[in-house]
């Protein structure tokens, strides 16, 4: 029994350590790029220069911790029209999206 438990624990650690950086698969990345352009774009502009929502340009976003940006995508901003996207996006999706908006991934 013991080796089995140890194995599970180790796997759990590995999984949690990689959660923040697990990159979505290529087909999902295509969908996420589309979402940024179209769905984020409907309020923030397709060129991300802002609209009813604030601009999402890299130099502006870089002022905030990435974790806070991920939370904003997943949970929205109460009191503003920014909705929580967690019903459509996983944490990995949101983390990749933030990196994409910051220009860190293509």
């Amino acid at each position: 029994m013991r080796p089995g438990i140890a194995f599970v624990v180790v796997m759990g650690l590995v999984a949690s350590a990689t959660v923040a950086t697990a990159e979505p698969v290529a087909s999902r990345r295509d969908q996420l790029r589309d979402m940024v352009a179209q769905d984020c774009g409907s309020c923030h502009g397709m060129t991300r220069k802002g609209g009813l929502g604030s601009p999402l340009l890299p130099e502006l976003l870089a002022q905030y911790p990435a974790e806070g940006l991920i939370e904003t995508i997943l949970d929205g901003r109460p009191g503003t029209p920014m909705p929580p996207w967690k019903s459509m996006l996983s944490r990995d999706d949101a983390a990749w999206m933030v990196a994409y908006l910051l220009g860190e991934v293509k």
Binding site: D34, A37, Q38, D39, G41, S42, C43, G45, M46, T47, K49, G50, G51, L52, G76, G79, T80, P81, P83, P84, W85, S87, M88
Partner: protein, 387 residues
């Protein structure tokens, strides 16, 4: 000797020229990702021309000149383009701000006003030349610049619009364009996200995102000020996430009823226009974006925000029942009825096509390829207040 030459020259000319045609069955389809618009005609459902070079057309809107020959296209990048439907060419273009959302044309057709986000305010141009006429910043009572939404034309050379951040409704009177006169209504409610004017030009409604309710202004009785209707229409229920802002401009009036997308609930609200009380609610498939009445007011067509944007529902107005749910394509962004309503055109962004439905049979009758189409605008708008 001269006459045969003249005849020959005339024949040559007429052979080169386009045949004469009207614009009453024409329209434009925005291809938003490519900064391009299609000139289309609705008699045989075809494309006549494709016009590039209009800049960033995400969330593009447009209005028509009163002769329905020219369109004034408002781009997200602040571009204002005057487009000739008959030649399929750009007649004039200016970049007038950093970020705009829409505009309106005056009752007499002489002025076009653009509503801007950055810097917030409206700018007014001569429709003949696109020369600037007036620049009216939107500084709210709080002293801050505000984004402008929900602009519409009023009788006389007047425009009405709403300040999103400040929560105010303003009327700009440009009877003397050099000295615009402003009438302001403050404290109308939190975060008005869009507005509409009824086709008779009497009622202006601003939907509030920050509160459950709608701000109403009686334009025939301005001294009564802004009142609140549908106050707390969602009270007691946890609002659902709104993944795309509803649009009120494609408003639906059917007889004495106004049909409005609810905010944060999957319902369309029916309001009695004589009492401004809620009359009914119709449950629908998602967060409604547009609720648009067929021109005869017998049907209301509804499209939805992501993730429910592949379906469109048709509501029968007398019975207030959804009579059909259709799936015309992927990501249905907009709908436009032909002038008498026998057909409706729908833009399916992610299917890269425009789909045409018969509104009697509720069956598809045609489709046209289009690159990421968004707004569809037919020239019948030229003669309607607020469109």
């Amino acid at each position: 000797m001269k006459r045969p030459l003249l005849v020959a020259a005339l024949l040559l000319l007429s052979a080169c020229a386009q045949p004469l045609r009207g614009t009453g069955d024409l329209g434009l389809v925005v291809e938003r990702a490519d900064g391009r618009v299609m000139v289309v005609e609705t008699t045989t459902n075809s494309m006549l021309a494709s016009v590039p070079g209009l800049g960033d057309l995400s969330h593009a809107a447009l209005v028509y000149s009163r002769d329905a020959r020219f369109a004034f296209v408002f781009g997200r990048d602040g571009g204002l383009t005057k487009l000739d439907l008959l030649t399929g060419a750009i007649a004039n273009r200016v970049v007038q701000s950093g970020n705009s959302i829409g505009g309106a044309i005056s009752q007499d057709g002489s002025l076009v006003a653009v509503a801007n986000y950055t810097p917030g305010g409206i700018k007014v141009f001569d429709t003949a030349t696109l020369a600037p006429v007036a620049d009216i910043p939107a500084i709210g009572a709080d002293g801050k610049a505000s984004k402008v939404i929900g602009i519409a034309d009023l009788p006389g050379r007047r425009f009405i619009y709403t300040l999103y951040d400040a929560g105010e409704i303003w009327i700009a009177d440009l009877a003397d364009p050099a000295r615009p006169a402003l009438t302001k209504f403050t404290n109308i409610g939190k975060l008005p996200y869009d507005a509409l004017i009824t086709g008779d030009g009497r009622w202006y409604l601003a939907g509030l995102f920050g509160e459950d309710g709608i701000a109403l202004l009686d334009l025939w009785n301005l001294d009564r000020g802004v009142t609140r209707i549908l106050d707390g229409y969602g009270k007691g229920a946890e609002p659902l996430p709104v993944f795309k802002m509803p649009h009120l401009r494609g408003w639906a009036a059917a007889g004495n009823e106004v049909w409005l997308p609810a905010i944060g609930r999957h319902q369309v609200l029916v309001v009695d226009k004589t009492t401004w009380k809620e009359k009914a609610r119709v449950d629908v498939a998602g967060q409604p974006v547009f609720a648009m009445a067929r021109p005869d007011g017998r049907q209301v067509w509804v499209n939805f925000a992501v993730p429910d944007y592949n379906v469109v529902q048709v509501i029968d107005v007398p019975s207030k029942r959804v009579i059909k749910t259709i799936e015309p394509g992927k990501a249905i962004l907009h709908m436009e009825f032909t002038p008498k309503g026998e057909r409706v055109w729908l833009s399916a962004r992610d299917s890269d096509k425009v789909v045409v439905y018969d509104t009697q049979t509720l069956e598809q009758v045609a489709e046209l390829p289009a690159a990421k189409p968004s707004g569809i605008f037919f020239t019948s708008r030229a003669h309607r207040t607020g469109l």
